[in-house]
Symmetry: C2
Amino acid sequence: MLQRPEHQVAGHEAGSGTLGPLIDGSGHFFKPLNPSDERGAHELAFYTSFFSDPRVPHSIRSSFFPSFGGTRVLPIPDAPDLLLPHLVLENLLHGYSNPCVMDVKIGARTWYPSASEKYYAKCLKKDRDSTSALLGFRISGLQVHHESGRWKPHRDKVRKYTVTDVRQSLRQFISKNPDETPPDCALASSVYGGSNGILAQLLELKSWFEDQTLFHFYSASLLIAYDKGGKAPRLKLIDFAHVMEGEGIIDHNFLGGLCSLIKCVSEILADAETAAGPTDPQVLETAADLEAAAGPAEPKVVVGPTENGIH
Amino acid sequence: MLQRPEHQVAGHEAGSGTLGPLIDGSGHFFKPLNPSDERGAHELAFYTSFFSDPRVPHSIRSSFFPSFGGTRVLPIPDAPDLLLPHLVLENLLHGYSNPCVMDVKIGARTWYPSASEKYYAKCLKKDRDSTSALLGFRISGLQVHHESGRWKPHRDKVRKYTVTDVRQSLRQFISKNPDETPPDCALASSVYGGSNGILAQLLELKSWFEDQTLFHFYSASLLIAYDKGGKAPRLKLIDFAHVMEGEGIIDHNFLGGLCSLIKCVSEILADAETAAGPTDPQVLETAADLEAAAGPAEPKVVVGPTENGIH
């Protein structure tokens, strides 16, 4: 039973003449490989390379990437006579009844050094018109399930988000009543905080990006998802149509954006902790707490005496 | 006794109709404030703000920035009748007899969101033509003193450096014979390594950049300097004519470039350690060693079980 994913918050949607992803009932996510578009072939090449590269730690692959099961030829919903190969991926929202989902495109720039002038100009304009250049990331879409239904800002609205809107959305995303002003941030502790939370996962991903020089993830997104079922929130990298070989250089563009997102999430956690107060049983864990528990983040070194004699 | 700095490796040089910095015999570095160029006023505003902002930790200010002593009106070398105000800064090479110096401009992009279209286009071209966009930093100049004299590649040559050239220069910089192929990297341990070395200082600076949202250091450089005198090598931020207010956002552009430089320096140290062998008394400290000694860099967290059922 193939169907269109109900909880897609960004990207192409299947139907009405457009190719889009499909899901089945057993946890698969099928992404069409459009033969007239090299991006599909590029993404397939990435998955093939990434899942066979022994230099990628197993924990990184299994924690932060969708599982990959090769390709499968499937009929297109609106043109069932037409068959097309699809990437066979993991449906990252499988098992969630009412998922809260956010798609965050990481990196201040989405163009890569070898891009055509046309693509480069298009990306550069989007990066400057969105929050990417300023903040190092932009939100591509989100939805929040709350008691009285689903809150999902329109795509055109999300596209115009300012830095203030992005900060607000990161708070609404973990609020029981996202429409409230200010958002209540009632789920900050259980979604962003804790040793299995989003912040801890972001910090683990950051460690890998400080070291890995295999791939540069231009235009890739982080999918952040949780539901009320009490499972650990998920953080996964998606959309690899513009991944380039790292050629021995770290992905400083992705890493910088990731650090900016980490800072924003840390601030929300710190604010929620202050609001909860020291005697509140809901003890939150901030980045500082997590790092303190694990020892200093960086060696504290004495850098030698400094000349201050010029005053 | 004012004179032109002998060991300047980048930036404007004083004389022949051009304004440039001057030094005296007691550790001052005077940078002219050209009244027809707003950059001087901008840099003065930065120093004034930075040195009076209580949110900047004292250790960061004293370890990684030149001391600042206000302004002083001085005559111009080629036109002694002309008086001009100068920034009074610390001569970072004071006390070094034969300094080895490198100027590294940090950040994949040197333009800032509010830049004029003209300045933006100029910066963007330089970033793409140099290693900045690709590597997250570029070398603006360097000199190495060795037994038989001074090695200082010409400015036009440095401007054309490829990624390979940059990596090579980072090795030549800590070699006794920089012209040798491959460079000997004999000083890797004493300059880049150790608890007072450049890598340890870079990591300390990185910690601050992961947190600080006060300033964005567009087009700023790291000055790396050492001499044979046995003092701790110096790492200082310089050139603040394009520093912008951070407005609550981390400087992901600078941070990304800094992490890329850290990775390059770590690799040189690791290679030198391998070359030295395990029984060599010259024990090197790599980033991994330094971080291991201080505890894990990031909390190691369990991210929860991963579905792998789609294979």
